[in-house]
Symmetry: C2
Subunit: 593 residues, 2 copies
């Protein structure tokens, strides 16, 4: 019922950027030399203002009245038509891109906070931009000059929007089974024919054109992921200076349970035989290109999760401080006034758990984004490679932790509201719906767990994991120097060691040929790993908060303590499940469920 | 998309009733002497038929078009008007009540399964009946003969329905703060004035009248719960043979996110000064009466949770068996056909976890209901008291476990459906919404945790907990005799011992005056206790399934193994949190969040 939700808090943003991450260090790199705290703050402030004043007030209306599909075209909410030009005017789409393509060379780490405000204010509204950034970045990275000229300015300036058109109805997560067909044509383009599903922003009336980054298989290509190519397929193609229909039709709308301001569509390519696609990069390399952009896309999904949990956390915090109900357990005088429910221990538990998830998740994503900044712009190849390894390793956690624990966090925000939380008169239920998508899109949590255990921790002979262990150690040492309880750092070290041991055992199992046995508990492995990563995120914050005598810093220390004492001890059991290979679901026959 | 969801499976119902619980033992008691497997089966079969053929097919339509509030009156979905008389015809409302008030003296344990089918088919539709049973039972138990004559036949025959009108806008869970006023009038009735909120079924057009079981405070009553009385307040009162308006008005409708076939209303009593209530039992005893009926009501909520998780589990199981996607990790030939997703380890994990929650929860509730049957009708006072203690102890777990873990289970069912699960084209999202209410109504999970630790385990010098320990031991011995792995029974014994130890420590803390310290980790205590109770429920099933060479029994053994090896080991850490009194959320100041 409040309209004063801050979405995120300035104090937290400043603390994380300047005291925990010390982001100004990035300005020593040539790519960011023009920047400093003043430009960072200005950039974030403008996004915050728009998020609070424009996006958030439109959220409820957009959730209640999703885009309409009429005669094959999607009409978005009227408020979205008002919002879109303002979003574009922030310069967010190309903010992190180089100056020579119209960008601001803003560190991704800083853009993360600006984006987080906008996502927390209105996930769907931001979605149009995020998708366009992703599409543009693919073309910037892998397209030839002609392709860039054709599409890039329009995308980065927000005159056109972009989509990611990967999923097909029969294949879902299995991109090896993409069957959309691309037939080379004499003019260098390809004729595209096929069907896609769950295409976010696949049609709308916000811009004059939409560019679908589409996976398809060139006729005669090898089977599997090695035969999949990437195409830019516009809704309208330019012919003699005019935009003509490119035969990409809306085949139907998905009635999503959240993100209801952003349409999700089934698309039909080439039903009339007149759909042209422009090859991005080389044939058969589409999956490889997608993989190279995947970290960024997955960090964005993780940030969706954090932002959605953040706005709900702050809503429930406000409710808990202002809603009187009941009395302390020890003071049952029925004539005494009721107390705000934040006085009840279990409500405080639910709040502190949310805080630990939200602020721990935000720290992780910002830290990962900073690794991305260094991976792209670091001073030397070694520094860049190191950062890239850490980014690769942390990405599946940064993507899945906010989705999974964010969902729990959103449910706690609802629970704190009691019966009111169960009604659409309050907003907490809407954020719970929004959140659920994040465990599904851009690789389900199950896929993240396979990526982490089957690929990331065993990459480069385990180097990324050793680098992470070094990061953990460094954070523990700095925290101890700042006066953080050594019991905390010791607990974190032990947990990190347990991961290393479990990984050695599982890696050896895989090398011996038992891949199924290695991956059987990938979900438990991901959970264990995530607990430790978030404990590390809290150690980074505890170092910066330690010994400082304000409520803000006391809150940080309490959340750090909560995570380290409540969650870290679970690592031992999870490691045991992974290593023992507990086999209940491995051996139960499908007909025995 | 399927319409063939079985809701629950016959094989499981038969197994639990006749092999795990051996429910026919109850027929040795005089109250159930007329019954046997034939009457039990017939009763359940009729409910199952109606649930599958009538209730479930109407579920989606009722979810999509909730009751309408028009000019102060609620109109339910047309399908509900068709369903209601058929539900009444089953004889469910008074099924468990004595023959002399029109009941069938059916054991609650047996009725549990009939109810579960109906709840799984259409939670809201069953709600009208469940509420009416509750209201009738209150009047049967505590009303004087005149009151019974006035209301009981109409309720038990389903000609009128009942509601529970406890919650008030300013008080929520804090019943001590009920402020609806009852003023004695010369004819023996009371004038009622006040406001209630979240009244399920508070108005509708299914029956000619509705009886609101209403908590109110007689003028001049003591403050707090000791001054709250219970009244039957009908929508229409009988005057000279005619039903006249009793000044109970609908003040507004809550837009619930689930249970959308059952209206939830704000009610205004006596705005015109003409609302009459009939005192139930004695003045100032209302809370005590409610408490005496609470076990039954809370078992019903737990069963709501199990049923809602059951239908979703079976839906996701069907989807997992029929949806092809991807290939085995070890067999990546892209030309091989895709496999059903049930072949993927992580999907099997999500299915087995659901199975463990659903069937473990169902066993618990049925076992608790059987204790209720013995508590009411046992052969002697000692047997009845023993069963009552166990029922009292298990009730907070039976209420909250299906709500909390059922929500997780419902989320897994959605996750298995991937992107489709995130759409309202499939039903899994609706059950997820339905489930969330169960952690809130009839005492939030937080309140259940305080009930368990602050009241139940310390009652009668710890006797209930010792009795439970005896039950655990007996189940372990029988399981071992049946050939169940002794490692399982040993793990269960150790976990039960840990609970006993933690309870001793916490109880002593409370006795020493540190009530806040005792209750600080009530949530962790409830979770720990629930893990052990469900492990016991699986031990009961493992005993009956052990050594039997069918897929059905192998599935039971796999789920038992899963719960005992995956969940039981968590008890040690949870006990430590409770005993250590980890103090992060105890000492964080409200302004530090």
């Amino acid at each position: 019922m409040t309209t004063t939700n801050p979405l995120l808090r300035e104090a937290d943003v400043d603390f994380l950027l300047y005291e925990v991450l010390e982001v100004e260090r990035l300005c020593a790199l040539p790519a960011f030399a023009e920047h400093g705290r003043d430009t960072f703050d200005l950039f974030i402030r403008e996004a915050r203002r728009l998020a609070r004043d424009v996006l958030f007030p439109a959220y409820r209306a957009m959730d209640e009245a999703p885009p309409k599909l009429e005669e094959g075209s999607v009409r978005v909410h009227a408020k979205m038509r008002d919002i879109y030009p303002q979003l574009v005017a922030l310069g967010l789409i190309a903010a992190t891109r180089p100056a020579d393509v119209g960008g601001q060379q803003m560190p991704l780490c800083v853009a993360t906070f600006a984006n987080a405000y906008l996502m927390a204010g209105n996930l769907s509204a931001f979605g149009y931009l995020g998708l366009t950034t992703g599409a543009g970045h693919l073309i910037e990275a892998f397209g030839d000059p002609a392709l860039k000229e054709l599409f890039l300015p329009a995308l980065y300036e927000g005159r056109w929007t972009g989509t990611m058109a990967l999923t097909e109805p029969h294949a879902g997560s299995s991109l090896a089974d993409v069957s959309t067909v691309a037939t080379p044509s004499e003019d260098g383009t390809y004729r595209i024919r096929g069907a896609k599903i769950f295409i976010s922003g696949g049609d709308h009336d916000l811009t004059e054109n939409i560019v679908h980054m589409t996976l398809a298989r060139v006729e005669g290509a090898p089977a599997g992921i090695k035969g999949v190519s990437l195409f830019a397929v516009p809704k309208f193609r330019l012919e003699r200076g005019a935009l003509v229909d490119n035969d990409v039709a809306v085949a139907g709308a998905i009635h999503k349970i959240g993100w209801r301001g952003l349409p999700s569509l089934a698309m039909a390519y080439g039903d009339r035989g007149d759909c042209r696609g422009w090859l991005v990069g080389k044939e058969h390399r589409g999956i490889s290109y997608m993989f190279q952009m995947m970290n960024e896309a997955r960090l964005m999904v993780g940030l969706n999760g954090v932002a959605t949990a953040s706005v709900a956390y702050l809503e429930s915090l406000d409710y808990a401080r202002t809603r009187p109900q009941g009395r302390a357990a020890a003071a049952r005088d029925p004539l005494s006034p009721q107390v705000p429910i934040i006085e009840h221990a279990d409500v405080r538990r639910m709040l502190l758990r949310q805080k630990a998830i939200v602020e721990g998740g935000l720290t992780l994503i910002a830290r990962a984004a900073m690794f991305a900044d260094v991976a792209a712009h670091g001073a030397d190849a070694e520094e860049r490679a190191r950062a890239q390894h850490l980014l690769d390793l942390l990405t599946p956690v940064a993507k899945s932790f906010p989705a999974e624990k964010g969902f729990e966090s959103n449910a706690l925000a609802l629970q704190i509201h009691g019966g009111y939380g169960y009604s659409s008169e309050y907003l907490v239920e809407a954020w719970l719906r929004d959140q659920k998508l994040n465990s599904i899109h851009e690789g389900t949590t199950g896929i993240q767990s396979l990526d982490l255990l089957g690929r990331k921790v065993v990459a480069a002979q385990g180097l990324p994991l050793r680098l992470f262990r070094d990061e953990v150690e460094a954070s523990c040492v700095r925290a101890e120097e700042a006066g953080v309880d050594r019991a905390w750092s010791e607990a974190l070290r032990i947990a990190a060691d347990r991961i290393a041991e479990a990984t050695m055992t599982l890696g050896a199992r895989g090398l011996s040929g038992d891949v199924d046995g290695m991956l059987l508990h990938s979900a438990d492995y991901l959970e264990m790993f995530s607990i430790v990563v978030i404990a590390w995120a809290w150690m980074l914050q505890a170092r910066a908060a330690s010994g400082r005598d304000t409520d803000f810093h006391r809150g940080k220390m309490a959340a750090a303590q909560y995570w380290i004492t409540t969650e870290l001890p679970r690592v031992a059991h999870l490691a045991k499940l992974c290593v023992d290979g507990e086999d209940s679901y491995a051996r139960v026959p499908p007909d025995a469920f």
